[in-house]
Symmetry: none
Subunit: 237 residues, 2 copies
Amino acid sequence: MNQFTFILTRPQMPENIGAAVRGMANFGLSDLRLVAPRDGWPHDDAIPMASGGFDHVQVSVFENLQQALHDCHLSFATTARSRDMQKDVYSPKAAISYRHKNFDFSCKTAIVFGAERTGLTNEEIALCHAIIEAPTSKDFSSLNLAQCVLMMAYEIASFHSKDKPADHVMTPAPLENFNGMFDRFIDVLDHGGFFKESHLRPKIERNIRTMLLRAQMSDNEIKTMHGIISALTRNNR
Amino acid sequence: MNQFTFILTRPQMPENIGAAVRGMANFGLSDLRLVAPRDGWPHDDAIPMASGGFDHVQVSVFENLQQALHDCHLSFATTARSRDMQKDVYSPKAAISYRHKNFDFSCKTAIVFGAERTGLTNEEIALCHAIIEAPTSKDFSSLNLAQCVLMMAYEIASFHSKDKPADHVMTPAPLENFNGMFDRFIDVLDHGGFFKESHLRPKIERNIRTMLLRAQMSDNEIKTMHGIISALTRNNR
């Protein structure tokens, strides 16, 4: 099930990373990415909790979430409670089902998990296509990081154990291609005087990113967007 | 969800009991029974891992599994690999579904978990009505005890959460608003020399419309798009 990548952003406890590795290995997942782990990586404290899982899971380290997502086509941010953000919210089951029904095998899909104490920041969530919210109890909703990983790994394995993917619709471009286009887009907007109040800029950027991500543009469509940006910036009226 | 009881038989590590309590509380389960916990009960080492979960879960202790099951109507033994035993074997999902489809609310249902190292003995499995087998990887099938608890708690909560496809957190703008923006967009593209070959224009227009429609823009986002178009057409570089 190499089409799934799990990303832990700023994980604090190596023990949780180890437990996450074990849970992934239990359900046949092998690609774990760490974004800026607090105590560095590799770490001895992760080994006992992994219980041999490192033989099955490859772990790589990235500086930020954007880099960790570079080759992923689709990305889900896991949150305990969905924020006030214009993104689709799926249950774990619905997210996996959505992915399989709408995209073909080669669509690399990232599940992104936040730090133990704080979860994902709004900026991190904005980098993802959609949100996964677990059906947790309202008054005790905060899952342990490794437990959240286990839940998603289990759901992925459950899907494969019964159902098979439908015919492909389209694969979104890898996120690094989207982000290259997006950065250029923001740059020309900036030159066009779009950002009038600089303190609002991060939020407005996030909103535009969210809106464009939702379109899940293919590689061809990213090229079209580049053509559009070129044409618009040539345009003097 | 008091109709579900989780039973840990001969659990070895208080930390795992604490993590199990947290996972149960996360998904609204409140009845945990311990059969002959190795280090006794209560135990201080369970407290940090429970992360406050003891406020939501009642823990009771029994001498053997038979006593722990005394008031349960239906019981499932969780195993990594089903033994050579004449019992029905269910996936976690199928087990919960079977319980809800065949029994009424008052049917108290036990999920029984084995000790960390050894799992359930054949004698313990024999006390249960049926077997639950997780869809784990063949060559790395042994789940951590608390992870197994989490998986079952999640599955129970998922069943109750009425899996709706996705929560669309916003309403797309009326199409006339979209089309007004789109027409203006195409117009400035045309002025920017975007459409080089006129016979391809209908197809390209259609593709751009498809891509932008997929974003399902809200009214506010349509306004943002108008601002973007204005900024881009002001841009002379």
